[in-house]
Symmetry: C2
Subunit: 210 residues, 2 copies
Amino acid sequence: MKKYIVTISREYGAGGHSIGKRVAEELGIPIYDKDIVKQTAEASGYSPELVESEGEDISRTDSIIRGIVASSVFYSDSQDVIHDVQQAIILKFAQAGPCVIVGRCADEVLRKAGIDGLHVFIYADEERRAVRVGEMLGSSNATEIRRLMSRKDASRHAYYNRYAGKKWGDGRNYHMTLDSGVLGYDLCVKLIVDAAKALDAAPAQVKKGG
Amino acid sequence: MKKYIVTISREYGAGGHSIGKRVAEELGIPIYDKDIVKQTAEASGYSPELVESEGEDISRTDSIIRGIVASSVFYSDSQDVIHDVQQAIILKFAQAGPCVIVGRCADEVLRKAGIDGLHVFIYADEERRAVRVGEMLGSSNATEIRRLMSRKDASRHAYYNRYAGKKWGDGRNYHMTLDSGVLGYDLCVKLIVDAAKALDAAPAQVKKGG
């Protein structure tokens, strides 16, 4: 493994981003998230807002619109263009050195390029995620929260299926999956940091594949 | 969580049993595997061999035989009886105190009974598992090895689906899934032991659910 490249896929509201941020801090390496959006926007010519919304989500609304306006170059091509450019940006960051990359099929992007990394998936039960999403949104509307969670998960799932060709959340696509609800964020951070350090100390283990 | 109850589900050849044994040693607690078979056999009246083969596998051959000889009480009932008795034995062990339980849908058995535990799934890529299975069998016949792996995984999958009603290997059914091929057995043992100890030190985290 190239020292400390950690990718984190996550269910919405499971704390994957917060955990990734702390993993990066503890390992003393950068975390790429907004930088990917910014550089992908610059290189693709699309707005950061579009890159943000299409860079790891395939929303059902967009799919419907695509069906209706199939003749529109904008709608039929933007997601693939953004994915391709984003993939190049992710590889650029990964090749520059140790880092944490959150979301955006980064695990599969690295795998396809033959770059080793520690691939993690973070999830939690719906109840705990709903509490966290409520806090993030400043909302206590349970219906609204559940609807948003369901929509975000479905669109990330669709994105992963489309671009990784695999089942999002299947343990076997990752090196480690963690239930942040039961284990808690602190323990998740420790387990990921320990694993990254151990793999770094024994690169031969990883060189064999995976 | 009741101190240190760890369940380990695993793909065939991924080393789940060896890892479980070392986790039990490091935590200084018993591991139940053959004891479950022995006691289930005694309590159900079925032979240890049948309990062993039907206690976590639903083989495709058996399913076919079942379809053909549906009138046979033996074939149509043994698996359910064994499952029910085995479930009671697992609960008895779990209620007696900290332990490691390998396979046999133990995660779901505990979950249904409202007993907390750290539920782990161990897997590895096919190549690494094939090497290990070859060593276990003392065989270098690649076709035979792949066929056995495929049959064992399919039957464990079917058993889990039938008795847990969930998808075997889906990260979200466990608190932690680990790729023993990439992470290595030593690191898997350490991560599980650390998680079990941390949960034991902060039981409130777990009490909330999961």
